[in-house]
Symmetry: C2
Subunit: 235 residues, 2 copies
């Protein structure tokens, strides 16, 4: 009884009224990109059907997703591109910058550091970090590589809240642990390992081999049905 009451109360308090489903959150950045494209082409207004085409999804999904943000469309017209873009940016927390710390400057880490696309989009590289003392002190894309033991100070000094792990797999967990200790609350993990972190830390992973293996599954399946074709069923 008591538990039920408490649970219900918490649900109300923790703005459960405005909780955006995870699947929708994951699509907001996609819409955002489409809106930016529209702005470049000086389109002022967009319908859910058009936006859906651009994003490669269903129009009903677009409307449902956007409805979680509020009623920002105009019936009979569509959405004001500029205004909608602002609202999505606000919802995603993109009205401020989120400095990023990159740990691990092998091939991938260096590529990430050199890739300008982050800074533009509100994720400036705050620091580069490696454990290899021969790399520490050298520069990549204008940033001096710092040693992993300096992680705490670096995070503190730069107010970084997002960490990118681009290390070899065997050290990724220990890097994650250090990041969490240093106060990082969001991690983007490129190492092919499952990281264990506290509940209040968000993790997203990018795993290239995993993606290729998924492609392999569907490719193989299609190959098999092509080699032994079904022919016309209704023939």
């Amino acid at each position: 009884m008591k538990t039920l009451t408490i649970t219900y109360y918490r649900e109300m308090v923790e703005r459960e009224e405005r909780r955006i489903p995870e699947a929708s959150v994951a699509r907001l950045p996609l819409y955002l990109r489409c809106l930016s494209t529209l702005i470049e082409t000086e389109v002022l207004t967009v319908s859910s059907v058009r936006l859906a085409e651009m994003a490669g999804v269903n129009a009903a999904k677009v409307r449902k997703d956007l409805s979680y943000l509020g009623s920002y469309g105009t019936r009979g017209v569509g959405y004001d591109v500029d205004y909608l873009r602002f609202q999505i940016r606000r919802e995603l927390g993109l009205t401020r910058d989120w400095p990023v710390v990159v740990v691990g400057l092998g091939n991938l880490g260096q590529a990430l550091a050199n890739y300008g696309g982050f800074g533009d989009r509100g994720f400036p590289v705050a620091a580069l970090i490696d454990a290899d003392t021969t790399k520490v002190g050298t520069r990549v894309h204008g940033h001096v590589i710092r040693h992993i033991d300096e992680l705490d100070e670096v995070v503190e000094a730069t107010s970084a809240s997002i960490g990118i792990i681009a290390t070899p797999a065997p050290v990724a967990q220990s890097v994650a642990d250090r990041m969490v200790d240093a106060g990082i609350r969001s991690i983007l993990n490129f190492a092919p390992v499952v990281l264990a972190v506290p509940d209040d830390v968000s993790i997203r992973k990018v795993d290239l081999a995993l993606e290729l293996q998924i492609l392999s599954f569907y490719q193989e399946r299609d190959d098999l049905s092509t080699v032994a074709p079904l022919g016309e069923v209704g023939g």
Copy 2:
């Protein structure tokens, strides 16, 4: 009437009986990696609970996922690590190699080409391709960079069926079109654009900015609830 009959027939023929849900397919590579880890540590048998811990998912989910492959576990014991690994590899089509063509050798493309992890896991780099004539002819990780106009011959000669797009966004769609024309059926896209391809071509995308923006959403949300804390509800 006729339509219903045909539909039902096709469902039976196209091994609809054994269709593995997309969400499960996407987790198989994860289990595979865990099994490989277990093999390295010479563990012979694993329970769904243990595997779930390693993969960071629910144990019931592991059992359900694996049950789609068949009944490869032993009640009261668990799964034979080696055998299960083989079955997953077979299901994913990993008993053969899938040569990969990388198009676009900027920072990211070069990092991918230099990353050894692909070849090991059954995805050898078959060819590197770029449009920049100053790059064509140079070598990256032992491979000579070929020109995009040679894509058809290269795909034919190497039997590549998977293409990786690591080009700037503006040319990604035209590269995808060329890949499809050349016979590529699976594409891993790193460019931040939504690609349009025929239904029989599989696409997976990796979008760094998008991942960071998703992290930003949850970070912001948590920041807000920390700044204005709720306090103990049951207090």
